[in-house]
Structures are given as C-alpha cells and as structure tokens.
Symmetry: C2
Subunit: 150 residues, 2 copies
C-alpha cells in the first residue's frame, strides 16, 4: 500500500488544505456534492470509481468535517452526504479549478459543462485576487510572509 | 506501479484541471514557483520530496505547459523552472486553497504563513464568486449545465 504523504504539520495553508481535502477523488466528490449528488450511488455513477475507493474517500471527507451524513430526503433508509459549512467554503476552490480548466484544457469550440448563475443563466465572472482596497493583484503583486524557523 | 486515473476525456473543466495539474506534489511545486523557487534544489528543500518524484513532477509540469525551463538567471549552467502564462493562471486556485486552509485548518491563534499585498503588506480580500452583473454568488445560486450525453 502506498503511504500517503502528510502535509498537516505544515505552516502553509495551501499544504494544509491539500492535506485536508485528501486526493483528487475527494475533490471531485466535493464537486459532485455542489452539483447536487447526495447518495453513494450518485457519486459512483458520476465518478465511475471503485466502491471501496469511494467508501474510503467519503469516510475521509466526513471525518475531516467536509461532508456530513443525514437521513435520506425521501424517508428511505439510505444515508445521504451533504456539504458542511466547511465543505461549502470550498466553493471558490472548485470554481477556480473550473475556470482554469475552461481557459486552458479545452480546444477552441470544444464543448464542456458550464457553471452559470441560476437566476439568469449567465456565465460567472472570472475569479480575481483583490487587495484589501480592491485593486486586482497578480502573482508578482503579492508576497508570502513565511514564519521564522523555530 | 499505481496506474493513474485519467480525467482528461471528461467534459468537466474541474476534472480536466485536476488531470492537467497532476497530483498534490505538482500543485505544491506550482505554489513554490509563485513564491519564487526556480531551481531543483530550492523545490527539493521546500518540499522535502524524493529527487525521483520531484524530477517526474517537474517534467510533467513542463510537458503540460505549466512550467518552462530557462537558462539560470546568474549565468551558471543550472536550468531554472518558471511558470508559463498557463501556470500563472493558476494563481486564483492557489489563493483559494490558501484562504480555505487559513479559515479551516488552523486552530485560533495558530501561526501560519500569510500571502500579502506586496505594496502595502496587507492581507488580501477573500475570493468571491461573482455573477456577470457583480452579485456575490454562493453554491446554491449556481447550476452546472451539463452537456447532453452522446
């Protein structure tokens, strides 16, 4: 079995996020939860992933507080998985990955799914990194303040 | 050897991004490139990753057009790795992961590195998903238009 590298002791929030999310499967489960999937079978059909992998990833996301289980919405015996507030806070991460993929991973004119504003059916604005005073910032306009080494 | 699952035939831009980035190591390499790392040894010191893994990930990021190699800035024989425009476009992805980590993966008061506006030294605004007309949108305000199945 491949030992997973842990990033949870890092003082870098990017590394901690990577650790908390788990792997790409977990991130795609979160994407599907945003898109309305709630049941094991729905995630499995969408992802085409082996049941044992899906079981482990759902368990990890629940343990990490990203998903929680609730009784089935139709009163049946199924458990359903819904995003917690911590999970919902991943929305900008998913949107950022989506917009980068739209711009960089499709040929011109190649069709892809689209995330739109529910009330108007229009595409969203590109996510923009903003300074406290509202100026748009690029990578060169920012700097990481690292913690002093112990 | 573990066979990597490919997501590059998906019509979902999130899945294609996940495929194009590679794995978490690759994403942390991109993070370090944003933070100024350029040489193999710099990435290795920052990440503490095995050389063969780092070599493979750097090669994958170059093949995917996220990084490119350039002659060393000091005129030495080293190759340096710099972000391409496609790589620079990952900035909102890294910032989104960072902000989620800051909010969700540290105890209150626990120190972490900070990304600040270079000119003013202040923290950034939280990334916000906006409609075309500028309204802030949450997950429930958006919907994915999937492509019809073939």
């Amino acid at each position: 079995m491949v030992k997973r590298t842990r990033f949870d002791a890092s003082d870098c929030p990017v590394a901690r996020s990577v650790d908390a999310i788990g792997d790409w499967w977990s991130l795609l489960i979160v994407r599907d939860a945003f898109d309305g999937s709630r049941r094991f079978g729905e995630f499995q059909r969408s992802l085409g992933v082996a049941k044992n992998i899906l079981t482990a990833r759902l368990r990890g996301l629940v343990a990490g507080g990203v998903l929680e289980t609730v009784p089935a919405s139709d009163g049946s015996a199924y458990r359903e998985y819904v995003l917690t507030p911590k999970g919902e806070a991943l929305f900008p991460v998913i949107v950022a990955l989506r917009q980068w993929g739209e711009a960089n991973s499709f040929a011109p004119g190649e069709p892809h799914s689209e995330l739109v504003d529910r009330s108007q059916g229009r595409r969203l604005r590109p996510l923009t990194v903003l300074a406290e005073d509202g100026r748009a910032l690029g990578p060169a306009d920012t700097v990481v303040h690292k913690l002093p080494a112990d």
